[in-house]
């Protein structure tokens, strides 16, 4: 027991000493971590303070062109509009800066958007520094994603588009990656409901994770981000998901505003199974995602 506390203490101390690059404009402490806002060049980003060399941005916006979607994976997620041109109820698990929620509210103002984030400080900072908008259509719930999903299931809630965006931190929430969790998410989807999950595309975890999604949903369509190690898995609560539909001219015109190059995005969406289909799957009983990611 004492060991754990000591390790934590040492980790905290090192974290304090570690130098943080880029100009820090704000920092708030939450029960989980320190959340910092930095500005570098023309970008403003949200980060979780870390002692590691490698820094992951939780959210970024372009200060000169606020409409521009900075993250490649977000371009991929929006390809989902080809399947759900008029979503009615959207669930986003993992708010970050709220950039996706803002863009989707703009594209489909009629849709009810619920975002779930575990960290209240992230939500506050999203509002303050990323102009995250809440209104009668856009709501935020401060909860663990798994807990939210389980409660929503008890209430028989349904969504037609669920976006899983809880995996860009340093630590993967392992209980949001198991077969059981994905089955619960599937249970929240309407018939033909769509899931877009922003996940990893490297490390040993790739096989396990892909096999788990495939086990629960069957056919997958996957967008691989061109330069970053992200991918977006598309899956649906339907019989078969063999083809990813072409974009409509209207969608192309809509997405240009956010500097999404639809041709480039669509070129990188494929149904190719490039993982070991015999891989073990992740379950609540077996989910060493963080250990697998390191291997």
């Amino acid at each position: 027991m004492n060991k754990i506390f000591k390790t934590l203490l040492v980790a905290l101390l090192i974290g304090q000493i570690a130098h943080i690059e880029a100009k820090q404009i704000a920092k708030e402490r939450s029960i989980y971590r320190n959340v910092v806002i930095v500005e570098e060049g023309r970008e403003r980003c949200m980060r979780f303070e870390t002692r590691r060399r490698q820094i992951t941005n939780q959210a970024c916006i372009d200060l000169k062109e606020p409409n521009k979607l900075v993250f490649e994976y977000a371009h991929g997620v929006l390809a989902g509009y080809a399947l759900k041109p008029q979503p009615k109820r959207i669930l986003i698990i993992g708010l970050g800066g709220g950039v996706l929620s803002n863009v989707m509210h703009e594209i489909s103002p009629e849709a009810e958007i619920t975002s779930v984030d575990i960290d209240p400080v992230v939500v506050e900072m999203a509002k303050e520094y990323f102009n995250y908008q809440e209104n009668d259509k856009v709501k935020t719930e401060i909860k663990d994603g798994r807990v939210f999903v389980k409660r929503a299931l008890l209430k028989n809630e349904k969504y037609d588009w669920i976006i899983l965006d809880a995996f860009n931190g340093d630590y993967i929430p392992e209980h949001l990656m198991s077969k059981e969790f994905l089955s619960e998410v599937k249970g929240l989807l309407d018939d033909d409901g769509l899931l877009s999950a922003n996940t990893f595309s490297n490390s040993k975890l790739y096989d396990y994770e892909s096999a788990t999604y495939q086990h629960v949903f069957g056919d997958l369509q996957i967008f691989k981000a061109p330069t970053k190690g992200n991918r977006v898995i598309f899956a649906c609560n339907c019989e078969a998901f063999k083809v990813f539909p072409q974009y409509s001219p209207e969608l192309k015109a809509t997405l240009i505003k956010y500097q999404v190059d639809v041709d480039r995005v669509w070129r990188r969406i494929s149904d190719k199974v490039d993982w070991d289909i015999n891989s073990e799957i992740l379950t609540d009983q077996y989910s060493p995602a963080n250990l697998l990611k390191q291997n």
Binding site: D144, R151, E180, Q285, L291
Partner: protein, 206 residues
Amino acid sequence: MRKATILLLAFSAGFSIMCFELLGGRMLAPFFGSSIYVWGSIITVFMLALSIGYLTGGRFSLYNASLNRYGGIFIIAALSLVPTIFYSEQVFKFVFQYIEDPRYGSLVAATLVYLVPTIIMGMIAPYSVRILTISVDTSGHTAGFLYFVSTIGSAIGTIMTSFYFVLWMEVNQILWLTFSILFVCGCLAFAMGSLEKSANPEMTSA
């Protein structure tokens, strides 16, 4: 021989406690998340259980302390893990339905599932001191050395579970492993007890 065995048993008890505690977090996460308060609930329940265990274990050692009784604690501790393996999910489900706040939900769930086995495991430490103590003069040294061994066991149980076991095995398999360790320890104590009895028939208590 006797000393070495008891130290090994105390080590195993320390090992099992932390193994069990770490799995607690994993088992609660699907229902209550993995927030800091879920860990807070688990650690609270474990600390509470251990304190009760130390108290009862010490009390229990006042009456006819013997290796057989010592072994009995291990066997009961092992058996108390069995309901955890089979019914914890139902308990968590039940609590989840009735308590919305994941803080109190996880606290209640952790109490229901982890309190009793941990109390029993906590009884082992003071009982080990009783079994091993020869004289009042050396009792502090004996107790200190036992804490040393069992806490090293806890440290190793923690690192093995979090670094390796979860990669090698499913949660329930690790629980069965803990069960087996405790069970074998209990049998060892019994064996040791009967060995001593046959070697020295007059000796009734340790």
